[in-house]
């Protein structure tokens, strides 16, 4: 069983690289459309949200299925959230703005969707830094408290998308619905645990 877990984890790791592979194929096949920079930014933005949803669903899945090993993948998926959020941010800073720091600073200050997105990324840093086993042992109960920030990050991430969209808010609402559902499940489980 243990060996299987290690294999599964490796497979999951490789599968998690799909967004990189798919965008590479798109680049080489010239599939990025008329606005390639926007295409790549959106691509990594969406995958960040998808991995955020996946990360948040591990605990509810453990409770629902009563299988504990879901939790083994949570850290890896969480780190992929940080990974893709960082690529997303790098695309914005490098590809879109060519490291024009002044323009970037103004964009962050003036536009709320950029601001919340940037905040969400900043908040991911402490979570990524404290994701190792050593840090978990070191921080003890504080670790759990610290990592509750992920809920705030999820809300900021969805707001980032919602405020960017001009009129058709279907896609951001789908993410909002999934994350709300995951929140509700958690609240339900934590309540039933207390009983």
């Amino acid at each position: 069983m243990k060996i299987n877990q290690a294999y599964l984890k490796r497979i999951l790791f490789i599968l998690s690289l799909w967004p990189i592979l798919s965008i590479t194929i798109d680049i080489f096949q010239d599939n990025l459309g008329a606005n390639p920079v926007e295409f790549i930014e959106r691509h990594f933005g969406k995958w960040t949200l998808i991995f955020l949803c996946l990360t948040l669903s591990m605990t509810p899945l453990r409770r629902l299925t009563k299988i504990s090993w879901w939790i083994l993948y949570r850290r890896m998926l969480g780190l992929f959230v940080f990974f893709y959020a960082s690529i997303h941010l790098l695309c914005y800073i490098g590809l879109d703005y060519h490291f024009a720091w002044n323009a970037i600073k103004n964009d962050i200050i003036k536009h709320r969707y950029v601001l919340v997105g940037f905040l969400a990324w900043l908040l991911l840093i402490p979570l990524a830094l404290t994701s190792s086993k050593r840090m978990i042992q070191k921080l003890k109960t504080n670790w759990k408290k610290l990592h509750k920030i992920i809920y705030l990050i999820a809300i900021l991430g969805v707001l980032h998308f919602l405020w960017l969209v001009k009129k058709d808010i279907t896609e951001p609402l789908i993410f909002a619905a999934i994350i709300s559902l995951l929140f509700v499940l958690r609240i339900k489980f934590s309540k039933s645990k207390n009983h």
Partner: protein, 318 residues
């Protein structure tokens, strides 16, 4: 005045590579066949020659080396919510729209209301090719070779009276063919407006074609407005009614979000949209590594149109 206006019209041969330009001319000569077979729009032989013989434009600014966007980009990256909210939706679904027969009614504060077919409309003035920058409020831009007639040619013909202070444009509402209209994303039909002096400005055109061809449906066939110094959403597509009115019309985007979209919507790098910085723009079709371009006041048509806005606070009237 007129001479000045022509300064910003980029001469086609200056930008388009020679071979492509010649191919395009050839294509136009063959247009008659293409058009009658697709039955999209019937233009008489006479009108074709009107497209063919472009008026002599004065040389544009010498330092202007802007490349015309590719036909593929112009026809596959569109904001046209009548066919869906994704940029690729219009090119997928706009072919459902029947643009023939079509009529445009011109009514309101004028001597005599008229209804025109596209055939009659393009007889009002010789068709001209106009190569304009198009700047979207979302922060991207293109360079498009439109073909059309000056809007003022039509307006002069219908003799507006003294009460005609604004011009309201109304697009088509036909959810059976415009599938995006099945959602109440916007208040259909799409409505836009110009101040009368803006509408009379020689840069404002009614376009019926692009790249030497009949206007593709996803770009607003059979006839659309092009006001190059304003954000793209002002350039209403598939026009069915032009209404001369006394009061400032409430446009679709003003209704949808009055805090974000004003009546004027002049391209202005100094007035930010709440969502997007308007200081710079991304030129569509450029390589992945191309930098953003600085957005210019009135989309770089300030010389021509700036005088119309001398006395108004552009921060307030955005």
């Amino acid at each position: 005045m007129l001479k000045k206006q022509k300064l910003s019209l980029i001469h086609p041969s200056e930008i388009t590579p020679e071979n492509i330009y010649r191919e395009r001319r050839e294509f136009i000569k063959n247009l008659t066949v293409g058009i009658s077979s697709t039955a999209l729009l019937t233009i008489s032989n006479k009108s074709i020659s009107a497209i063919n013989t472009l008026p002599n434009f004065n040389q544009s600014k010498k330092n202007n080396n802007e490349k015309i966007s590719s036909l593929k980009d112009i026809t596959s990256y569109n904001n046209y919510y009548e066919f869906g909210t994704s940029k690729s939706d219009p090119s997928k679904y706009a072919n459902k729209l029947k643009t023939d027969p079509w009529s445009i009614s011109i009514e309101g504060e004028l001597e005599k209301s008229i209804t025109l077919s596209i055939d009659n409309l393009i007889k009002i003035a010789p068709l001209e090719e106009r190569i304009y920058r198009l700047r979207c409020v979302e922060g991207w831009s293109m360079v498009i070779p439109w073909i059309g007639i000056p809007l003022n040619a039509l307006l002069k013909k219908v003799l507006p009276n003294n009460n005609a202070k604004f011009v309201e444009f109304v697009s088509l509402k036909r959810p059976s063919e415009m599938i995006g209209q099945k959602d109440d994303i916007l208040d259909w039909p799409y409505t836009e407006g110009l101040r009368i002096d803006e509408a009379m400005h020689p840069l404002a055109i009614l376009a019926v074609g692009l790249y030497g061809k009949v206007l593709p449906n996803q770009n607003g066939a059979p006839v659309r407005l092009v006001v190059p110094w304003k954000y793209g959403f002002k350039s209403i597509k598939a026009i069915t009614k032009i209404n001369l009115v006394e009061k400032m019309p409430i446009t679709t985007w003003m209704k949808a979000n009055p805090k974000e979209y004003g009546f004027y919507a002049n391209v202005n790098p100094e007035v930010d949209h709440p969502r997007w910085s308007q200081a710079s723009e991304r030129r569509v079709g450029e390589s992945l590594l191309a930098p953003r371009l600085k957005t210019r006041m009135f989309n770089d048509y300030a010389e021509e149109v700036g005088s119309m806005y001398q006395n108004i606070d552009l921060k307030k009237y955005f």
